[in-house]
């Protein structure tokens, strides 16, 4: 079996196994799996509104998935995409609500870039600690997630507003929202961010596959010592890949700030997009093309699930179980490969 085909078989098998397990769970608890899944599908493609919502949900997933993937390629596990996303959201809102009278051509890019810079700075911390002092990036990024959440809420309440729980709406000159896209999709919250996300998927694909830097990232992720001997700067690569990862996750947050919500508000708990991004990157096999597809799949599952309680009586939390199981099957792909090898051998013997 060619490598390319195998790269496709594993995620597809994982998704199918995840859905089958979901069906079994529904059966165990006395729900009708067919009704449940039809409600899910209807909630994704039943109406233009749902399609718009699915694409909107997939937008930050693509960017955060790319973030996790870039770090992963360099051998780093970026659990901190969540915090970087929050900082990006915050950065974009600070620019978006504090400047008035700028033209869209200046205001919007400025807000977007600020968000990316905020995310990048937040990821620079674990990057530099890992590169210079070998501090475990998993723990540092987890800690920075909480730090980001509290700073986010503090800034919203004390610096952007006077003790309010929500900032003012962003000025039209810094908004990603689009009346055209909304009216096309029956007034869903679809916004221009999807084009930015797809654009960055292309840029990251080019970076990883066509540039020396992309090659160095993969080399460092594959074998640090060998890369060092080959004359690459492992430290620089680690720091830069984290910074790029942070900028991408930050951009994911910008999508929420300038696109979906058009504001920043006090969060009682972390929104979880950064964590979902880990799932997106894993299912997408850390390849930008795979990530676009897995982001759309997870976006569809999340949005479609909202239709399940009303139509089929199935709690929408089931979808999170299915997503968890899909990651398990991807993580345990050894067993899938093993089964495929057995199957192939069996076929040959006949």
């Amino acid at each position: 079996m060619s490598k390319r085909l195998q790269a496709l078989v594993i995620p597809v098998t994982a998704v199918i196994l995840g859905l089958i397990c979901g069906a079994i769970i529904m059966l165990i608890f006395g729900y009708d799996p067919i009704a449940g899944y039809s409600a899910l599908v209807e909630g994704v493609i039943g109406e233009p509104f749902y399609i718009g919502e699915t694409i909107r949900q997939a937008t930050p997933y693509i960017l955060v998935g790319l973030s996790v993937a870039v770090a992963f390629k360099a051998g780093l596990f970026n659990i901190g995409a969540e915090g970087q996303m929050l900082m990006g959201w915050l950065g974009s809102i600070i620019i978006a609500v504090n400047f008035d009278g700028l033209t869209k051509w200046i205001h919007l890019p400025l807000a977007i870039i600020t968000g990316m810079v905020f995310g990048a700075i937040w990821a620079f911390i674990p990057g530099i600690l890992k590169a210079t002092l070998r501090v475990n990036e998993v723990i540092v990024t987890i800690m920075l997630n909480y730090t980001a959440l509290y700073i986010f809420n503090y800034v919203v309440q004390n610096l952007l507003t006077d003790g309010l729980d929500k900032t003012q709406e962003v000025h039209a000159s810094a908004s990603l929202q689009s009346e055209l896209l909304q009216s096309l999709t029956d007034y869903s919250s679809l916004h221009w961010g999807i084009l930015i996300a797809l654009g960055f998927a292309l840029i990251i694909w080019l970076m990883l596959n066509k540039t020396t830097f992309g090659y160095e990232i993969e080399a460092v992720g594959f074998n640090e010592n060998a890369s060092q001997y080959a004359g690459m700067s492992v430290k620089k690569t680690i720091i830069f890949s984290m910074v790029i990862a942070g900028a991408l996750a930050g951009l994911g947050g910008v999508m929420e700030g300038l696109g979906t919500y058009g504001t920043a508000y006090v969060l009682t708990s972390s929104p979880g997009i950064g964590f979902d991004g880990i799932a997106v990157a894993l299912l997408g096999g850390s390849s930008p093309i795979g990530i676009v597809f897995s982001a759309i799949l997870f976006g569809a599952l999340k949005v479609g699930a909202l239709n399940m309680p009303a139509v089929a009586g199935v709690p929408n939390e089931l979808v999170n179980v299915i997503i968890a199981l899909i990651i398990f099957f991807v993580a345990s792909s050894y067993i899938i490969r093993w089964a495929m090898a057995k199957f192939k051998k069996g076929a040959k013997a006949e």
Binding site: Y154, P315, V319
Partner: protein, 316 residues
């Protein structure tokens, strides 16, 4: 002054108790060579099953309910950890990824079950929970009694005893030696006739039992119900405590108490002198920032077991 100290000690220990149990769980798992980011999920399952068990049997067991619920939580935590064990030990999954999946699964599954059982997003409040009793006799000792033995979170003292016992188990018993050997050099251990997989299974299952216990203690001391925000990061804190404590039970305990202290400041700081004037946000982020600074300061000294996170494939 004594009163302030008593408040600080009491709430520090209260916050630290669940972290100690869970961090100890992490020590067992990682000493055996299995990285356990899934501690958070094991706490979630423990908190969930304890609250459900507590609500279901409160009329049967009365005052004893929270204690018996602990057993339920430990059983569920232990069973749940099997998923991580199978994925990492048999299916050669990446330990961190499997751990992340464990956390996803625990949150998804527990909230799904809450909806199925109670038809709403969170459970009712429990009637019987862990109070803060005074210890007779000891609490009559002047000053010390008031600080350490009045108004105390009992389970936190149990946790400290667990930590000491765990230190003994890991460093002074045959089981501990074997567990450490499969975490340091599984091939050598295998050659000596130690069953690597079985040892690792035991480490992970103990981590599930202790993680479940930690979650149950937390839910039955603080939140008193179960919903999406019941366990929000305590498992990750416990993981950090374990690393900070150099994979040593007593070190993990010390780190957990330190985190408990930092969290206690974040919550009660506003009512204490010296801390009143500091904006909340600094106290809120203190535990996390201090953790990072501590990790930076402990460079080179905090080394994981050598084969931690490395899948052992026989014959390779």
């Amino acid at each position: 002054m004594t009163a302030i100290l008593a408040t600080i000690v009491s709430s520090t220990l209260l916050m630290a108790g669940p972290l100690i149990f869970t961090a100890l769980g992490g020590v067992y798992s990682e000493r055996g060579g299995v990285v356990n980011i899934g501690l958070e999920g094991m706490m979630v399952m423990g908190a969930f099953s304890a609250i459900v068990f507590n609500l279901t049997f409160q009329d049967t067991f009365g005052n004893l309910t929270p204690w018996i619920s602990l057993i339920a939580a430990m059983v569920v935590g232990g069973l749940f950890s099997l998923v991580h064990a199978v994925a990492t030990i048999n299916f050669r999954a990446d330990h961190v990824i499997s751990g992340v999946a464990i956390n996803f699964l625990a949150t998804g599954l527990s909230l799904f079950l809450v909806k199925v059982i109670y038809d709403k997003g969170q459970t009712d409040q429990i009637k019987y929970y862990f109070g803060k009793p005074d210890i007779p006799v000891l609490s009559d000792i002047p000053v010390i009694g008031e600080i350490f033995f009045k108004n105390i979170p009992v389970m936190s003292y149990v946790a400290i005893i667990f930590a000491i016992v765990s230190w003994f188990i890991i460093y002074k018993t045959r089981f501990g030696l074997r567990l450490r050997s499969v975490g340091e050099h599984p091939l050598a251990a295998d050659t000596m006739g130690i069953k690597v997989r079985w040892m690792r299974y035991q480490g992970v299952i103990i981590s599930g039992i202790l993680g479940g216990l930690g979650g149950a203690v937390y839910a039955q001391s603080f939140t008193l119900d179960f919903g999406h925000a019941t366990i929000s990061g305590q498992g990750y804190m416990a993981l950090a405590a374990m690393i900070f404590g150099k994979w040593n039970p007593l070190g993990a305990m010390g780190a957990a108490i330190f985190f408990g202290f930092a969290q206690c400041l974040a919550i009660t700081g506003g009512s204490l002198p010296f801390f009143k004037d500091i904006p909340d946000v600094y106290l809120q982020i203190a535990p996390y920032v201090l953790t990072i600074l501590a990790l930076v300061g402990f460079i080179g000294k905090s080394e994981a077991p050598k084969a931690d996170g490395v899948n052992y494939i026989k014959g390779k």
